[in-house]
C-alpha cells in the first residue's frame, strides 16, 4: 500500500468499506471455531448423559451438565489463543456479552431447577440457546447462524414439549450438531 497514491472519493469510501467488512469476516472466522467447540461438547455430553441415564435408569447423570462449563471454558480459552489475533471491537464485545449472559442464565437456571424449584429446564435452555445463536447471527449479519439459531430455539422448544424424560436430551444432541454445522458452514464461507 502506498501512502501518497491519489485516490478518488469512490476509492476512499471503498477502502473504508473493505476495512469494515474485513473486520467482520475476521470475527466470523474466529467465532466459527467457538461454534465447533461448543457443538462438539454439547453433542458429546448430551449423548453421554442420554446413554448413561437410559442404561442405568438414574436421572442423576444430569449432574454431568455441570462438566460442560468446567471443560468448555478452559478449552474456549485455548481456542481464543490459537485463533488469528484480531483487535476487539464493538461487535466482538457484544458477542462475548451475549454468550456470557447465556452461560450465566443457563447455569443459574439449571442450579435453581435442581436445588430450588423444579422447572422445564430443557425447554428454557433450548430457547435461550437458540436466542443467543440467533442474536449472534444478527450481530454478525450472517444468515446461516440466524437460521440455525431459529431452528434450534423454535424447533427445540416444540420437541421439548412433545417428548418426555431422557429422550429430551436428544434435543441437545441435535442442537450440538446444529452448532457444529453452523461452525463448519461459517468456516467454509470465510476460509
Amino acid at each position: 500500500m502506498e501512502q501518497n497514491k491519489e485516490m478518488t472519493a469512490q476509492q476512499s469510501l471503498q477502502l473504508i468499506s473493505d476495512s469494515f467488512n474485513k473486520s467482520r469476516k475476521d470475527i466470523l472466522r474466529n467465532s466459527a471455531n467457538y461454534f465447533v467447540l461448543w457443538g462438539i461438547l454439547l453433542t458429546a455430553i448430551s449423548l453421554a448423559i442420554y446413554l448413561l441415564w437410559h442404561l442405568t435408569d438414574k436421572p442423576q447423570w444430569n449432574f454431568l451438565w455441570f462438566a460442560m462449563p468446567v471443560i468448555g471454558y478452559p478449552l474456549a480459552a485455548l481456542v481464543g489463543k490459537s485463533n488469528a489475533p484480531i483487535p476487539q471491537n464493538e461487535v466482538s464485545k457484544m458477542l462475548g456479552g451475549v454468550w456470557t449472559v447465556f452461560g450465566t442464565f443457563a447455569l443459574a437456571l439449571s442450579a435453581i431447577a435442581v436445588f430450588v424449584v423444579p422447572m422445564h429446564i430443557t425447554l428454557i435452555i433450548v430457547i435461550i440457546l437458540g436466542l443467543a445463536e440467533c442474536i449472534s447471527g444478527v450481530l454478525l449479519r450472517n444468515w446461516p447462524i440466524i437460521i440455525a439459531g431459529f431452528l434450534l430455539g423454535v424447533g427445540g422448544a416444540i420437541f421439548a414439549l412433545l417428548v418426555k424424560s431422557d429422550a429430551q436430551l436428544l434435543i441437545f444432541t441435535l442442537g450440538g450438531i446444529l452448532l457444529l454445522a453452523t461452525g463448519f458452514i461459517v468456516k467454509l464461507q470465510y476460509k
Binding site: M1, E2, Q3, N4, K5, M7, A9, Q10, S12, L13, L15, I16, S19, F20, K22, S23, P85, I86, P87, Q88, N89, E90
Partner: protein, 96 residues
C-alpha cells in the same frame, strides 16, 4: 462549494490505518502491518503523522518479553474520520 478533504486522511495508507482503528478498540503495529501490507518503515512514518495530528495515540510497551506498539484512535481522530466520510459522500452525491 465542496468541503476540503482532510489531507492527513486523504492518503491510502493513513486512511487504511484510520479505517482499522475506527472500528477497533486498539490495534498493534504487527496487526496494522499485516492488514495494510505496508513496510515497517512506511507504516511507522504514517503512524507518526497521524499521531502528530492528534488523530491517534501510540503506546509503546511489552507483551510478555516482546515489544508491542499499540495504536488507538482519539476522539479528535474519530471526529476527523467522520467528517472525512461525510465529505466523501458529498463529493459522490454531487457527482451523480
Amino acid at each position: 462549494m465542496f468541503p476540503k478533504l482532510d489531507p492527513i486522511l486523504h492518503s491510502e495508507l493513513r486512511l487504511a490505518v484510520m479505517s482499522i482503528l475506527a472500528g477497533a478498540d486498539e490495534a498493534d503495529f504487527t496487526y496494522l502491518k499485516k492488514q495494510t501490507g505496508a513496510t515497517s518503515g512506511n507504516l511507522s512514518v504514517q503512524i507518526d503523522k497521524l499521531a502528530s495530528a492528534g488523530y491517534i495515540e501510540v503506546e509503546k510497551g511489552f507483551k510478555g518479553k516482546m515489544p508491542r506498539t499499540a495504536c488507538r484512535i482519539t476522539p479528535a481522530g474519530q471526529e476527523a474520520f467522520k467528517s472525512y466520510v461525510e465529505a466523501l459522500k458529498e463529493y459522490l452525491s454531487a457527482g451523480k
